[in-house]
């Protein structure tokens, strides 16, 4: 983006030039967010895709559960069991991410004009 197209850029958010140029590079190259499938990395490529979907569903379930907790719709016992389930799910996801050498940002696919997946 040329400077003369920036009409106003003010504020106090401490975003370094590095952060912004990283975003611009991402827009131009868009390589980081692509699913790179080759014969050599087919396993990890598929794992990334599958874990992305699992993580998305896990987060949706968690969100829905929090709405129900917040609304006072669950009993003590149900909250206890829900906590155990969500905690174990999160731990299992961490385990799988570690196993396939993936980070949270790897699972947050860039959907282009729609923004990030999560």
């Amino acid at each position: 983006m040329s400077d003369n197209k920036i009409l106003c850029n003010t504020g106090t958010v401490d975003l370094s030039i590095h952060d912004i140029s990283e975003e611009v590079d991402k827009l131009i190259n868009d390589e980081e967010s692509k699913l790179k499938l080759t014969p050599e990395n087919a396993d990890s490529g598929i794992a990334k895709l599958v874990l992305t979907l699992v993580e998305l569903i896990r987060k949706l379930v968690e969100k829905q559960a929090m709405r129900r907790v917040d609304g006072g719709l669950l009993s003590d016992d149900e909250i206890e069991r829900l906590g155990e389930t969500l905690m174990k799910l999160e731990m299992k996801m961490e385990e799988l991410k570690k196993h396939f050498n993936l980070t949270d940002s790897d699972l947050n696919i860039d959907l282009g004009p729609l923004g990030d997946l999560m």
Binding site: M1, K5, I6, L7, C8, N9, T10, G11, T12, V13, D14, L15, D19, E23, I28, E62, K63, M66, R67, V69, D70, G71, G72, D76, I79, E80, R81, L82, G83, E84, L86, M87, D110, P113, L114, G115, D116
Partner: protein, 251 residues
């Protein structure tokens, strides 16, 4: 030879014929530009080789620069990089087939510029700020007896609930700013398209179409918003050709 199409423009919106402007411009990889005219509309094209179609930053910039320069003088509809047809005759036939739709779209963007507005934020700082406002430290679960249960699972749920409420507060905050921005834009008779929280740093990502004469007003509007929301960064860009406001299915 295949033709790359840069934009479709209203040739009669300016007294200067497109050819005169094109003489001083070069297309992707220094390609010569020419106009294919049909009644009131023209397509700006150049010869294209396979090499020119390989997208990279420089070629995309050259392509965008042609559109940007022409937009200074003409009402136009930008085409996507890589739009091509097999000959100038095919381009002419395309103009003929789509004349009505193209003219309708050109009328919608006549004398208008596109502007982009990004509202950037520090997620953690904003969460803290909103939480402080809501006295979130005193958060308890809906049923008091649950919060007194200190099992690891209920503590886990309590922490998740705290995060959930913080997220809800951010969403409510972004909705209120968005409503404020849109209300000001409506006063300026702008057409807008807004998305919220597209990633961890962008609270609002908006584009809007505005009368060319109102550029100064929109700059002042953004400056006023910045004064009001010191914790956010407002990044206003433009004027751009109407990249996000062309709704046409080329037949």
């Amino acid at each position: 030879m295949d033709k790359m199409i840069y934009c479709l423009l209203l040739a009669k919106s300016n007294h200067t014929k497109p050819e005169t402007t094109l003489n001083s411009l070069k297309g992707v990889m220094e390609a010569d530009l020419l106009a294919v005219e049909y009644h009131n509309i023209s397509a700006i094209i150049s010869d294209v080789t396979e090499k020119q179609l390989i997208a990279n930053k420089q070629r995309a910039m050259e392509f965008a620069l042609v559109i940007d320069k022409l937009a200074q003088k003409y009402t136009l509809l930008p085409m996507r990089f890589g739009s091509m047809m097999d000959s100038a005759d095919s381009v002419m036939e395309m103009l003929e087939r789509n004349e009505v739709e193209i003219e309708d779209n050109l009328k919608k963007v006549k004398n208008k510029w596109e502007f982009g507005l990004k509202v950037i934020y520090d997620r953690e700082k904003l969460k803290e700020e909103l939480a402080a406002k809501q006295d979130n430290d005193k958060l308890t679960l809906a049923k008091p007896e649950i919060s007194s249960n200190n099992s690891v699972y209920s503590t886990y749920i309590l922490n998740k609930l705290k995060e959930h409420r913080a997220e809800e507060q951010i969403l409510s905050f972004v909705d209120s700013i968005l409503a404020e921005i849109r209300s000001h834009l409506q006063e300026l008779k702008a057409v807008d398209k807004c998305k919220k929280m597209t990633n961890d740093t962008t609270l609002i990502d908006a584009v809007f179409l505005l009368d060319k004469k109102k550029k100064k007003e929109v700059v002042n509007l953004v400056k006023d918003l910045q004064q009001k929301y010191l914790q956010l960064n407002f990044l206003l860009t433009g004027p751009w050709p109407p990249y996000n406001f062309v709704e046409i299915n080329i037949k």
